[in-house]
């Protein structure tokens, strides 16, 4: 097991190098002057374009430029993000907790709804409940997040004037940035409760409702389907028939025997689902003006804010490799028949 984890951790820098090299390569499609103009914020500076090219070494061969960037990163300097108006490291520290909170608030209901209704759907196969669940699932993953997001905003924020976009209201903004508000966890709802300010917690939570609903409705389908099909497979196996033949109540057969085995693929998949949510909230965050990693990375990518895109990509590549590793380890952990080698 340790050997397996060590091997995967060795693989991590390889992927991260590859990801950044590829991004860097893509950016070389732009001429040095175009890339230099990305650093220019004032038209008057355009006459000094050549100096910018010299300063950042933009006319050097690509490997040399990459090396310059890499050396900085290895010194712990990820650069300055023009779109976030702060250093990349600070931007990640400020945006990541927001995304993490949103992901967590969506992931927990997804897990419960997915497993509960997935099981029920398999037990009551082809009955009304199963059909309803399937329809909800298939409409969920056919609905683009931006369509659902705009509908929800129009109805709940526009018409009913509840659940506003953003992360908090103005007065809470002042509160969170004041010196007597302690950031214990980075999860603002929790922090507000820990600070004893329930009104602020309510405000922050009300901002989470719509983006979380969007994510839940769109992503729950995957877990529903996996649970249902895995459950169906287990219910058809011999040991389930044996358990029934012994005269065990159906409830026990389903919950204690079949579901335990059916959850194996679900458990391993859920760590990947979590990461998928974490890096897949791009559009949802953009629509709801939610200041997280996703919204920032898309703005950075659109405006070719090189340090910003590189930083955001590095982070999500890192999470991706780690989540895959956790998923594999979990797999071996929940199912002793599987050995990692």
């Amino acid at each position: 097991m340790l050997k397996f984890i060590a091997k995967r951790l060795l693989f991590l820098p390889v992927v991260m190098l590859g990801v950044t090299m590829l991004l860097f390569g893509a950016l070389q499609f732009l001429s040095p002057a175009m890339r230099a103009s990305l650093y220019v914020r004032d038209p008057r500076q355009l006459s000094a374009l050549n100096e910018v090219i010299q300063k950042y070494g933009l006319n050097k061969p690509m490997p040399v430029q990459y090396w310059i960037w890499l050396k900085q990163v290895l010194h712990g300097n990820l650069g300055y993000s023009e779109t976030a108006k702060m250093p990349v490291a600070a931007a990640i520290r400020s945006f990541f907790p927001a995304t993490f909170e949103l992901t967590l608030v969506s992931f927990i209901p997804i897990l419960f709804i997915g497993i509960y209704f997935g099981t029920l759907s398999a037990v009551k196969k082809d009955k009304l409940l199963d059909q309803t669940t399937r329809i909800v699932a298939i409409t969920g993953y056919s609905l683009p997040s931006f369509v659902l997001g705009l509908f929800l905003l129009m109805i709940f924020y526009g018409h009913f004037q509840i659940f506003p976009p953003g992360r908090y209201s103005l007065n809470v903004d002042l509160l969170v940035h004041s010196s007597n508000f302690h950031h214990y966890t980075g999860l603002l709802t929790l922090d507000a409760i820990l600070n004893g300010d329930f009104a602020a917690a309510g405000d922050i939570f009300s901002h989470l409702v719509l983006p979380a609903t969007t994510l839940i409705y769109i992503s729950v389908a995957l877990l529903l389907r996996i649970t249902r099909s895995s459950m169906l497979e287990e219910l058809g196996k011999d040991y389930v028939r044996t358990a029934r033949a012994k005269g065990l109540p159906e409830n026990v057969v389903v919950k204690k025997h079949a579901r335990k085995n059916a959850l194996i693929p679900v458990v391993t998949l859920s760590s990947l689902l979590f990461i998928g949510l974490l890096s897949g909230v791009v559009i949802t965050e953009t629509i709801f003006d939610f200041p997280g990693i996703g919204r920032w990375s898309v703005i950075a990518a659109q405006q070719l804010d090189v340090p910003g895109v590189m930083g955001a990509t590095l982070l999500s590549a890192f999470l991706f490799v780690v989540a895959n590793m956790i998923s594999d380890v979990l797999y071996a952990f929940v199912d002793p028949r599987i050995r990692l080698n």
């Binding site: 390889v14 399937r134 409409t139 526009g158 897949g280 990375s297 990518a301 070719l304 895109v309």
Partner: protein, 296 residues
């Protein structure tokens, strides 16, 4: 004869799945709209391209449906009905071209990777590892941002994110098929590598890939529309659903006191994208269920 009975069996299986049948009906409806676009929404005489939506004035405020504009107008008075009808063609174009392009690359690289093995295989697989480690949408946005916003570049970038999973899937199946006896027999008869690959290995390993690709059409359409929504797709006034919904973004809160004042600009293109993707997903689900009896 055999294909005919297969089609008949397929039809019989489909009849038992009303939802999949519904999927075929939805896509059939959109196909009809796309085919009949010149009749449903005649191109104005002085238009440079059928895909440019006619503009009725320059008022930024969208208008509700009327006798003159059946679906109303978007901001800057683009006729929504015309955009929806011709946008159907754009939607099919995106769906078919993106999945087709990704499939071509996937089939080419996947079969080579599985067939030859060695350093080609190792190199290609590590490369796919790297692309899969990217947050897909962010990579696609970077590609479009570098190439410049346009519908063609959106299609290229979505295909660029899509091909690695196809390559890996086909590679796995090729690895299994290339050990089979009929491949050995073909080799013993002196068939060339290309002939073995094209005539024997690919036809026997491509099936799972095609099923996965048919299930992917919906999500590909969503990704491409999302890029248009972010303003990276076709220019304003081009008939594309993603572009139309992106134009509605500033109007979703309606006018003071009436949140639904411009409902048509969001709901009409939004429902169309939803139905289009739903149709593909229902169809893909049906095809998978019929081909893979374990999932029933």
């Amino acid at each position: 004869m055999e294909t005919k009975s297969k089609a008949a069996a397929m039809w019989k299986a489909l009849k038992k799945r009303p939802l999949s049948l519904l999927g075929f009906c939805i896509i059939g409806f959109f196909l009809l709209v796309a085919a009949a676009a010149p009749i449903l929404a005649p191109v104005p005489a002085n238009s440079r391209s059928a895909y440019l939506i006619p503009e009725d004035g320059y008022n930024p405020e969208p208008k509700l449906p009327s006798a003159k504009h059946w679906f109303g107008t978007t901001e800057n008075q683009y006729d929504l009905y015309y955009g929806m009808v011709w946008g159907t063609r754009t939607a099919f174009k995106v769906a078919v071209l993106v999945v087709g392009l990704a499939l071509m690359v996937g089939i080419f690289l996947g079969s080579i990777s599985g067939f030859y093995g060695g350093w080609i295989d190792e190199g290609l697989m590590r490369f796919t590892d790297i692309i899969l480690a990217f947050p897909g949408l962010v990579l696609a946005v970077v590609i479009v941002a570098v190439l410049g916003p346009s519908l063609d570049h959106v299609m290229i970038s979505v295909a660029a994110v899509q091909w690695p999973s196809y390559t890996r899937l086909l590679r796995g199946d090729v690895l299994a098929v290339k050990e089979r006896e009929f491949v050995l027999a073909a080799r013993a008869l002196g068939a060339s590598d290309a002939r073995i690959l094209i005539k024997h290995i690919i036809p026997n390993s491509i099936y799972p890939l095609l099923v996965v690709a048919s299930l992917d059409v919906g999500s590909v359409v969503i990704t491409a529309a999302a890029l248009s929504f972010l303003g990276l797709g076709a220019p304003a006034g081009y008939a594309s659903w993603g572009q139309l919904i992106s134009m509605s973004r500033d109007w979703i809160l309606g006018s003071p006191g009436n949140a639904f004042a411009y409902w048509n600009t969001v709901f009409i293109p939004g429902i169309a994208i939803f139905l289009f993707v739903l149709g593909w997903n229902l169809m893909g689900d049906g095809v998978r269920d019929i081909l893979d009896p374990r999932q029933r």
